[in-house]
């Protein structure tokens, strides 16, 4: 019995000490990094630490965030993504258990995701995303919290604001109509909005595309160029698909304006992306 008592007293004391002092793996003082992530540093420098990046999209090819920040507009059918970069992942030898918790302006959790990163898995990033559609989210201050084995290790505050109707990521287009394009310089010649119908006559549209995002998942951009009369009846359509390699690009399209093919009147040139008119220009043909 004496043996039991000594062992019992020892275990009890050890248990109480450990319960009171040893549970947390993090230091008490949080730090905020340049990326506005609030980090709870590990007591052991080799333990996992994390940085949270919030963005609208993550490039499938480069894995880089697109549209990163801490303020986002609430938009229909859009998601907000969290890219969580883990530091010291390579120093870990056992499975890691994470929770990503998204907290609304009312302080309540609206999405909790639990993930186990297996020791054999070399991944050093975690992803989580939530919808920011207006039917689900209100404007206000939100938080995303990252827990490792039930303990908070990083968090980030972000703001959702109402949609101002401007899509910063939308491709922009401007149209120039001209008689011809200089073969050497590529510059438009005889820029105008009215053109004379004549034998062997031609006219050109030069479309300057800007705000292209070459990082965006090697996404193929699809455009439709359309020439039509004043009543909207298209007489010539051209599809152009390409993967942007720069933030700008130029497209061209030309039509014949001979007396056999065209009559005098008002016409339109339009460029579409996903059936949405990116830009249009009205022009006249005359004899």
């Amino acid at each position: 019995m004496k043996f039991f008592r000594i062992i019992g007293m020892f275990l009890l004391a050890a248990h109480m000490m450990a319960s009171i002092s040893g549970c947390s793996s993090r230091t008490g003082q949080p730090l905020e990094n340049a990326d506005n992530t609030i980090i709870y540093p590990p007591k052991n420098a080799d333990d996992i630490s994390a940085n949270i990046i919030l963005c609208r999209k993550i490039s499938k090819t480069s894995g880089k965030p697109i549209g990163a920040g801490t303020t986002f507009e609430i938009r229909d059918k859009e998601n907000l993504r969290a890219l969580i970069q883990l530091q010291n992942r390579e120093k870990q030898t056992k499975d890691l258990w994470f929770h990503v918790d998204w907290i609304g302006p009312n302080g309540k959790s609206f999405f909790l995701k639990s993930t186990i990163l297996h020791a054999a898995d070399s991944a050093s990033d975690l992803n989580s995303s939530v919808s920011i559609s207006p039917e689900l989210r209100q404007p206000g201050e939100y938080r995303i919290k990252l827990y490792l084995f039930r303990e908070l290790i990083a968090e980030k505050i972000f703001t959702l604001i109402p949609d101002n109707g401007i899509d910063e990521n939308e491709v922009k287009a401007s149209i120039i109509l001209c008689r011809k394009i200089d073969k050497e310089t590529g510059l438009p010649v005889e820029i105008d909005s009215s053109f004379r119908i004549r034998k062997k006559g031609k006219m050109n549209a030069i479309i300057d595309l800007t705000n292209l995002n070459p990082d965006e998942d090697d996404r193929e951009l699809k455009f439709r160029l359309e020439w039509s009369d004043d009543e909207g009846n298209a007489f010539f359509k051209k599809k152009v698909d390409f993967i942007p390699t720069d933030t700008i690009a130029q497209l061209t399209s030309s039509i014949s304006i001979t007396p056999e093919k065209r009559e005098a009147g008002v016409y339109w040139f339009r460029i579409y992306q996903s059936n949405k008119v990116l830009a249009e220009r009205r022009f006249e043909l005359y004899h």
């Binding site: 008592r5 007293m9 275990l11 319960s19 302080g107 309540k108 908070l152």
Partner: protein, 346 residues
């Protein structure tokens, strides 16, 4: 328990804390939640001890075996009723009548009824029964069922699993009640001196802790959630709803350690125990009334509901003790004087 409940009503962490999968932003919040984990095992083990002791005394005083058992079956049924008609609704300040789910009080009631069936057996038979329940329970958790089918949800969550219908399934908690009755056999009958009680209790608690630690470290049978380092948050909190084998062994050890501490305090400074003895004489009254007061208070003053922090929970605790201790003392007097059946049962 009271601290856990003042935290539940006043501490803002409860806006985001999922009791089935708890996460902690700080050590203070962790300890506040973890401290409350001791309550349910304590309740069940003390209920088991009480059933065994009270049964033994009633029979010794001349009650028939059936009469003594029938008393506890009635008490168990009344606890289930109290859960359904009072406790469930009191959580929300009686905003709505919500009889159709169970909880800790019902689990104690049902456990009392089952324990009554084997209360006459020898302590080691009950010990074997409790161990069997604890060992079989993890396998039964693998039974698939649908939350959408009412009878399946009710059956599984009354006895095996935890969920919206019942967070305290009978099977693992009955095991603790039985263990309480076994320990009572030692505390109140077998071990004749306080030295013996303290020594044996600490030895048993130490064995339970060692077993629990072994189960947690080996990571397989008896565990539900993964753990990080020894004594980290995730090590200590495996799963409460329903409790894993690790949790049951660990908190069995904690309760036995707690009782041992009370025995030691009783030897050193018996007056200190008087504060604890006041609500201890009318535990059901304490439980039912303090929840109702907290529920109604936060319903009337919603600005206090889950708006504070760790310190607010302690302020709430102090306030509730000021209210509850005199109330318990008063009701104990009423209970002593009253011959009313229901008052006697509370």
């Amino acid at each position: 328990m009271l601290l856990g409940h003042t935290s539940y009503y006043f501490n803002s962490i409860w806006k985001q804390l999922d009791p089935f999968d708890p996460l902690f932003p700080s050590w203070g919040q962790f300890m506040l939640r973890y401290a409350g984990y001791l309550c349910a095992p304590g309740f069940l083990m003390m209920a088991g001890a009480m059933v065994w002791w009270s049964y033994s005394r009633r029979v010794a005083k001349g009650a028939t075996d059936w009469n003594a058992r029938w008393h506890f079956i009635q008490r168990g049924l009344i606890l289930v009723l109290i859960q359904m008609i009072w406790v469930n609704s009191s959580w929300g300040g009686f905003k709505a009548f919500q009889p159709w789910h169970l909880g800790i009080i019902a689990s104690i009631g049902i456990s009392m009824i089952f324990l009554t069936l084997i209360i006459k057996t020898r302590w080691y038979v009950r010990l074997i029964a409790a161990i069997a329940l604890l060992l079989i329970h993890p396998f039964l958790l693998k039974i698939g069922y649908s939350d959408d089918i009412a009878w399946q949800e009710a059956l599984m969550q009354t006895f095996v699993d935890a969920g919206d219908f019942n967070k305290y399934p009978v099977m693992p908690w009955l095991a603790l009640a039985i263990l309480g009755s076994v320990m009572a056999n030692g505390w109140l009958k077998l071990w004749k001196t306080d030295r013996m009680r303290i020594g044996m209790s600490l030895g048993i608690a130490a064995t339970a802790f060692l077993l629990a630690i072994f189960i947690r470290l080996q990571g397989g049978f008896g565990n539900i959630a993964p753990a990080a380092d020894f004594m980290s948050y995730s090590f200590l909190i495996d799963q409460k709803y329903p409790p894993s084998l690790f949790m049951n062994l660990w908190f069995f050890g904690m309760v036995v350690t707690g009782v041992t501490l009370f025995i030691i305090i009783g030897k050193i400074s018996p007056k200190l125990l008087k504060v604890f003895s006041i609500p201890g004489k009318v535990p059901m009254f304490f439980y039912a009334v303090h929840l109702a007061i907290l529920g109604v208070f936060t319903r009337i003053f919603p600005e206090f509901y889950r708006n504070g922090d760790v310190s607010t929970a302690f302020i709430g605790l102090a306030g509730m003790l000021i209210i509850m201790l005199p109330l318990c003392k008063w009701f104990y007097g009423v209970k002593l004087r009253s011959k009313n059946y229901f008052i006697q049962m509370i």
